[in-house]
């Protein structure tokens, strides 16, 4: 019953976010609460922030969760942590692909090409490569325990090199992405200079997507636990 309430609540919540995010008018100087401001250089295309940024956010959070559960596995040697780690990574890959595709479509209309090797695009691309490598590694190891410890080690190594990408890349190339260092005027994304309405919808969307992710994650972990149990029953025969 409690679970059912959450599912309905989340469905309503995300529907409202999508409808509001898509339909509220964009005006030069918003007077009422139900209007978005026009951001110079982005115009109507600014609406992507409600859907693209949450997916990218979850791609990163899932990577973090996967790594933390990996560390837990190395400390406690319990396969349940490996189930959690790989479930988070699996969902992270899906959201990473979603973020890349929505970003590329937006880039086509805003920058004129699907792919520009902007620092932000490069870093999401590298995140996708890391996820890909993680699953390539997992599929190449037969023993469960070995697979768990090696993939945990790999995700930790990958995690420590990510800051280099985040801090080096913007220094080495000029960015087009709103909110990057060389961006003037068009970038309210990082410094959050959106108006109140936009800000509320954005946070609501972030929250909704995060809950959606946690729900999917919980389902995957439950399935993984059943598989683990089934395996243990089979090995007892």
């Amino acid at each position: 019953m409690k679970g059912k309430f959450w599912k309905i609540f989340l469905g309503v919540w995300l529907s409202i976010v999508i409808i509001v995010g898509m339909s509220l008018p964009m005006v030069p100087s918003p007077q009422s609460f139900f209007e978005f401001p026009i951001i110079p250089g982005l115009d109507e295309k600014a609406r992507i922030i409600f859907f693209h940024v949450p997916t990218a956010w979850i791609a990163v959070i899932a990577f973090l969760m996967s790594m933390i559960n990996g560390i837990q596995y190395l400390r406690k040697n319990d396969l349940i942590y490996d189930v959690r780690s790989s479930s988070a990574a699996g969902l992270g890959l899906v959201f990473c692909i979603l973020a890349t595709i929505t970003g590329a479509i937006w880039a086509k209309f805003n920058w004129g090409a699907y792919w520009n090797w902007d620092p932000r695009q490069t870093s999401i691309f590298v995140l996708m490569l890391i996820y890909g490598a993680y699953f390539a590694l997992r599929s190449a190891i037969d023993i469960d325990e070995k697979r768990a410890s090696l993939s945990a080690a790999y995700s930790i190594i990958a995690f420590v090199t990510v800051p280099f990408l985040v801090f080096i890349m913007p220094r080495m190339m000029t960015g087009l992405h709103p909110g990057s260092a060389s961006d003037d005027g068009a970038g309210p994304v990082v410094d959050f200079s959106m108006d109140t309405t936009m800000y509320i919808v954005f946070i609501a969307s972030l929250l909704g997507f995060t809950l959606l992710y946690l729900w999917m994650y919980e389902l995957k972990v439950r399935l993984g636990k059943i598989e683990l149990y089934y395996e243990s029953l089979r090995s007892h025969d």
Binding site: L129, A140, Y154
Partner: protein
Amino acid sequence: MLYIQQTAAVFIKDFKSELRTRYAINALVMFVITTLSIILFSIGGERVSPDVLAGMLWVVIFFSAMSGLSRSFVSEEERGTTMTLQLLAQPAIIYFGKLVFNLVLIFSINTLVVTLYLLLIPLFTVQTTSIFLLTLFLGSFGLACASTIIAAIIAKANSKGTLYPVLSFPILLPLLMTVMNATKLSLDGAPLSEAAGEFRVLVSYSVVLIAVSWVLFDYVWKD
């Protein structure tokens, strides 16, 4: 003191078995020559910009490293000597012994690659030698640090050869971008101080990776 002696012993063991099989000396030298000739054929008589040549140098170095550096751990698995080594020494000692071996290997490969590259491609003229040599040194060092731990990981997996570059590339990307940038600077004749940021990145990259590998190697190495 004992640690250093034991690390040296692991290194000498690898070095001796390398001299006996001559895998690196034969296969890797041929690999380098093959890749360089492919590049020479593809360039032909064209005037390629120095920026592209700087990038291509590191492409050659990356793939040579990927074909040679996994050897140190993969050969232990293939010969079935992993268990013996686990009994004889602590994981940290094994790691540092293998790291030193990989460092020696990558420095020799890179010396060969760069010498041939400078001789065969006249357009590749280094203006600031100090930047170029430091980049080469720090870049090779970081390359060995990252690829040693990845080699230890893939040695336990199936389809090792394919997996190695796949796993290494995302880890090595920050390093590769930095060294490519620094090499461009050395070709443009920038003063040494201009590449200081790149060198800082390379040094911290190596330090971080050695620290992480040291911690994680126990879990990777033990069966």
